[in-house]
Structure formats: C-alpha cells, structure tokens
C-alpha cells in the first residue's frame, strides 16, 4: 500500500513533492499502523479517504499552479449570488431535454403520417448519442463560463466595480 501511496504522490507538482512528500509518507505510515485490529470497513474507509485526498490534492495543486486560482482557499468562498451556478439548473435542463424528446416522438408520428410513400429515414437510433454530446457540450460551456466568472469574482473585479459605483455616487452627492 505504501508503494501505491508513493506512486500517487508522484501526481503532485515537483515543488510540492520536494517540500512535503517524505513527511506525508511518514504520516501515512504512522496512520496505517493505527489500522491494526480495526474492522475491514474502517480500513477500507481509510484507504478510500487517502486515495481520494491525494487525487483531489494533486488536481488542486496543478490547477492552482496553472490557473493561479486557489479553489480551496483558507476562508470560505465569497462568490456573489450572480456568479453561482444554481443546482436547480440541472433539473431544469433535464426537464427541457425530456420535453424535446417528447416533442420529437410526437413529430415522428406526424412525419410518418404525411411522408410520401409513408417512409421516413430513421434518425431516432442516433438521437440519444447526439443528445448526449449536445448536453455534454452545453455543460462544458456552462462550466467554462462559470469558471471565468468565478475567477473574475475572486480577482476582485466585482469589488472594484462596486467601489467605482460608490465613488461616483459620493461625487454626485
């Protein structure tokens, strides 16, 4: 297990590894010793937690280095409500997708009825794949937009804009 842990640590940026790798290995070894005598579920939970922690930590360190944005800051997030991606949007998107699929199903019957010779080339078999791609692209675009707004929010652009509004109001008074 220690070998696997060491392997996962390789996912971290080199500078981070230089600073913390030996120390993390040592702490992991000590924590692993505490597992002796514990039930299988507790040991499994420990390993799952450790692996998830390393994967998330490595991804975070790389993103923080590349984007220069700390996604897990010391303080909780200060996102403006207008920058938040509401969870209800996912539900709304699914409802819209269901509506579109229902409309297509209804249209299919109409097409068959009025098509010359009663023959229509079937598109239904490729539709789920197409719809999945469209949904994935929409989600990706949404996430990219959210990330840009998040980065702007974190960089203080919003606060500067508020500040300038306040200054203008002060001058007008």
């Amino acid at each position: 297990m220690l070998r696997m842990y060491r392997g996962l640590l390789q996912l971290y940026p080199a500078a981070y590894r230089r600073e913390f790798m030996e120390e993390m290995l040592r702490v992991f070894e000590q924590a692993q010793k505490d597992l002796v005598g514990l039930p299988f579920t507790a040991r499994a939970a420990f390993y799952v937690r450790e692996i998830a922690g390393l994967l998330a930590g490595a991804a975070h360190q790389h993103l923080a280095t590349i984007l220069e944005v700390d996604f897990c800051p010391v303080r909780s997030r200060d996102m403006k409500p207008q920058y938040r991606f509401p969870r209800s949007t996912v539900g709304l998107m699914l409802v819209i997708l269901a509506g579109v699929l229902l409309a297509i199903e209804q249209a299919k019957g109409i097409q068959v009825k009025y098509a010359p010779g009663g023959h229509v080339s079937a598109v239904w078999s490729t539709l789920p794949q197409f719809a999945t791609w469209v949904l994935a692209l929409v989600c990706l675009a949404g996430f990219a937009g959210w990330a840009i707004l998040f980065a702007l929010g974190r960089s203080g652009v919003q606060r500067l804009s508020n500040l300038s509004t306040e200054v203008v109001a002060e001058i007008k008074r």
């Binding site: 981070y16 600073e19 913390f20 030996e22 120390e23 993390m24 040592r26 702490v27 992991f28 000590q30 924590a31 937690r49 450790e50 998830a52 922690g53 390393l54 994967l55 998330a56 930590g57 490595a58 975070h60 360190q61 700390d70 897990c72 800051p73 010391v74 303080r75 909780s76 997030r77 200060d78």
Partner: protein
C-alpha cells in the same frame, strides 16, 4: 474588513496548533479528537491545508534543528492566532444572535 468564515479543515488545524506546536500525525489525530470523530482528515487534505497556511504565514515550521524533514513541526504565528481569534469571535457573535432569535421566537 469583512472577514469570511474559515473553512472547516483550516479552522480545526489552527485550533489543533493553538495550544502547542505539532507534527503532521499529531495534528491528524488531534483534529479527529477535537471534532469528536466527525472530521477525519486524509494526509492529502491535511498537507493541502498546511501548504496554504504556510503560504499565508498563519503557521510556520518549528524545531528543525537536526534538519530532518521527518521532525518537522508546525506552530501558529501571531497572524494565524489573530485570525483564529477573529473567527472564534465571529462564531460567538453568530451563536449569540441565533440564541437571541430563537429565544424571541419561543417567547
């Protein structure tokens, strides 16, 4: 200045270091103890938090006399202690407000 709440791992790590300097393993165990087993940090999460706190100069390394990385301990800086005190004051204020509101509702 409007101080935002600290994230829970950070708060617990700071609390753990508030009485004395500790090594990584000691922090891990102490966080579990002070949260009564509710929060069990992984080493990845712990060192992520320590990395950020070192970058903010809220904690510092302590006792590296022999130069060994294994013997590294961490301790709060005055800046870290001040931020922890602000956070505790904020939580106290919130708890007081919540108690008042609940008492008002029950009356």
């Amino acid at each position: 200045m409007k101080a935002l709440p600290l994230s829970e791992p950070v708060l617990l790590v700071l609390l753990s270091l508030s009485d004395r300097p500790r090594h990584g393993y000691s922090i891990l165990k102490d966080v579990e103890q002070i949260s009564r087993g509710r929060v069990v940090l992984s080493t990845g999460t712990l060192y992520g938090a320590l990395h950020r706190l070192l970058a903010q100069a809220w904690i510092e390394r302590y006792g590296q006399g022999d130069g060994s990385r294994d013997s590294r301990a961490y301790r709060l800086t005055s800046r870290g202690r001040q931020n922890l005190q602000w956070e505790i004051a904020r939580m106290k204020d919130l708890a007081r407000l919540a108690s008042l509101r609940l008492a008002h509702k029950e009356a």
